[in-house]
Amino acid sequence: MSQSHRIDAKVGGGQIDRTKTLGFTFDGVGYQGHPGDTLASALLANGVRLMGRSFKYHRPRGPISSGSEEPNALVELRTGGRQEPNTRATVAELFDGLEAKSQNRWPSLRFDAMGINDKLSPFFAAGFYYKTFMWPKAFWEKLYEPIIRRAAGLGSVTREEDPDEYEKGFLHCDLLVIGAGPAGLIAALTAGRAGARVVLADEDFRMGGRLNAETFAVGGKSGADWAAGVVAELASLPNVRLMVRTTVIGAFDHGIYGAVERVSDHLAVPIAGKPRQVLWRIYSKRAILAAGAIERPIAFENNDRPGIMMAGALRAYANRWGVKAGERVAVFTNNDDGLRTAADLKAKGVDVVAVVDSRQGEEVIDTKGKLGLTQITIRDKAGRTRTVGVDALGVSGGWNPNVNVHSHHRSRPVWNDEIAAFVPGADGPAGLLVAGAAAGGLSTHAALKSGAEAARAAVEALGKQAPYSLPVAEDAPTKVSPLWFVHHGKGRAWIDQQNDVTVKDVKLAKQENFTSVEHLKRYTTLGMATDQGKTGNVIGLAVMAELTGRSIPETGTTIYRPPYTPVAMGTLAGRSRGKEFKPFRLTPSHQWASEQGAFFVEVGMWMRTQWVPKAGETEWRQSVDREVLATRKSVGICDVTTLGKIDIQGTDAGAFLDKVYANTFSTLAVGKCRYGLMLREDGMVFDDGTTARMGQNEYVMTTTTANAVTVFRHLEFCRQCLWPDMDVQLISTTEAWAQFSVAGPNARKLLEKVVDQDISDAAFPYMGAGNITVGGLRARLFRISFSGELAYEIAVPTRYGDALLREMLAKGAEFDPVVYGTEALGVMRIEKGHVAGGELNGQSTALNMGLGKMVSKKKDSIGMVLSQREGMVEENGYRLVGVKPVDPKAKLVAGSHFLEKGAAPVAANDGGWLTSKVYSPHLGCEIALGYLKGGDKKIGTRMRAVNLVGGLDTEVEIISQHMFDPEGERLRG
């Protein structure tokens, strides 16, 4: 029968829309529910109690709560790319067509083969893994870990891409109110009426909190109606923002809160243009935590069967959702709140067959029912036991104020005897007030009063007045008499149902001296995973307190950390996924290169052309070799826009460069450029590049592509913090200029066809630099070479970069120019022995690179002093060398280690390593650069390049790093 457990609308309609019916499936079976239902309430309405299997013992489980604290009813929702594991059925809003599946069971929820774990439970006590999978060591990787991994975990993750979008948002407010129960609602109303900018966030899809789940009156109407009235007024205030389905997940510094808004989780498919979820960063001047309280269980034998739930949840399902979780119900309580459940259910016509009140000396000691509760055993004051047939049991062990967010800055909750629970302690996040049940005020009146008071205090702190009046509401005392676990028998009594932690496990932890709460948590897994012990933590440590004879405050509590409830990775990522994970820049020649079918590679923050294949080339080396040979034969063009460019101006610009470069720049003639070596203060090489003097007080620095940002930051540090009175100004012009290297014997001839000035060797000698024009357009020309060829770098304003490239190719067509990419660039710089990424590794000195003489001792510069430290100036330290295999056909691998002939491949014999390797079409073999101990003295000798990972052991010849045109005749040509 459809919705067999729905209470007659005439008796109790609840806050569902019975005029509409929604269809959904659970494990493939079709059911019906109504708008306003959660998946859990709809399943219970259909008589389905069994919703999952426990983590370790695979015990049959149903929901114990009606909120986000739920440890048991974890399900997989949806299919395909939207499939989402470990979602609490108690907060999953029902929609038409929802597909849900149970988890952690095989082959089916009713018959789960891994249920054998339950029979083997004596072996699976706390610490089982630590003790069992210890040795032999070799078994761990091959045997134990795969088995454990297969058995562990709950839901499964889809392999398909998530089709939805996730956003990040920023909000600013005077007051953030967390939770829209009675305290939160009246706080928002008080502050909103006073004109404060208020954000009211609630994780539920309906504001009102417990008022929606209770029957008592507030201000002369039902609590739910009062809440709806307040929400309506708040919605009319332009200074108040209401955020339903929004969980505040963490308190961060300076009044910043994180929140997740589930914009579209309640829809089959998000509305076009709307994200699935939004991660909000809320900047607040004040905040009020009104997150309510969470009911806690009592541990007794077999207290985990489907049908056993919190008394407050049983009541919520009846009052809010019009669902009776059972036909014959019992209540087990240690406080007056549990009695409300019995009264409310009776009023709804449910057969309440037993009220077991521990304060009267009665206790539930055991239960029966394989896949769901069928019977409970009650022990009375005199010790006599009786059994009662029931299909639902509501348990109340009292209520724990929900202090979670208040603890995020390490504030320790303090124990309150009156309500037998932890309440927020001192030193919570600055500006955060706590109100309502979260502060320990468990009656409705107490919640309203403290909510209004907190709002008034928050608003007054901001300089506004906030008068308030309170509606009349119940103010019943708690009357709780602590009971944590029932002393009876040898069976298992669950504390943390999600992690299958029982009273026995706590006893074992105590026995093995893991008595501190932090040890207890790690040893037993109490309070871990998706629910983070929201229902189980306090009872677990109370049991430990009782076992160790300490008080609960002496035992202490673990600290809560963000996030309050689980957050999907996609939500944290937002739009930073796929190509948007890390934005990249396109070079001015990108369009042209795309047209040629070029291959691209990420370099720093850029996409650079890697090589440009010609028709018929099927393998990358063909293209790269051709680009290298053509450049060395005639002329090649390479986009070098990505190099960092910094304009440095001021009367102290030269002096400033002398400080930041190891070599001297103040003496550089105007119109010339120079290679510069920049050290870190610890003496290691930081970066290199050429810097040109464009005028008396004007330099242009280039940096490597990778370090453009960090060099600029470093220069600003030097300018502002070290030499604050230097007259020097910096501006990054990396993106302002499109810059091309034009290299090869015909470089000048090609450029002469596009530039307006005389650039003959006499007019524009090697290392010359200057402002020129290209068809009247301002441009810069530098005669520098990274390839070893006669070469220039020409720069034009970025928007003309594409035109300049096309112009050079067209006007220089007679020279058959090639455009080369980063691969050919790398080949030519290695042939020439120039250092780059593999050598500029942050662990190498100028001396290591063969550039030791560049570090001037005649002036103070960053890193100069520490570059002379012992250990960095060793005679036989690493020196940069060139390497080629003795057999020209042999392969080299970067990262290979140098070994002497016959030496065993062990660390003691390590002579250094290959930093970069390419195939040199010029030399007809693979070549490499490397750091070799005492390398300068080993030129001409033979060693081995050994790569144990790749299985390579190659005899190599150590040669000068300058492997091509060592005299530099070509570049001066």
Partner: protein, 94 residues
């Protein structure tokens, strides 16, 4: 965190890059100080649980280097100054 920039007002810490202890301003002069002194400068820092004066760079902003006085336990920020002003007050010039 929110850093109250002396020129630009309250800014989110995400806009900044953290460097470290304010003592990095106190760089010795390389022509007179030796390796020992530079070693102390480059490597030795106090690591207080409490008030800490530290360098932050407003990279996604106006490129100011700031000296932020922050409590490392509570993250409370009690003072924010332009590092250039701090450097000058320490007697640094050219």
């Amino acid at each position: 965190m929110i850093i109250h920039h002396p020129i630009l007002g309250p800014r989110d810490a995400q806009e900044f890059v953290y460097l470290g202890d304010e003592s990095l301003i106190d760089r010795p002069d390389g022509m007179s100080a030796g390796i020992e002194e530079f070693h102390d400068y480059a490597y030795n820092r106090t690591n207080p649980a409490g008030e800490h004066r530290e360098l932050w760079y407003h990279e996604q902003g106006d490129r100011s280097w700031l000296v932020v006085t922050r409590n490392t336990v509570t993250h409370e920020i009690t003072k924010v100054e332009l590092a250039r002003d701090v450097a000058r007050a320490k007697g640094r010039t050219k």
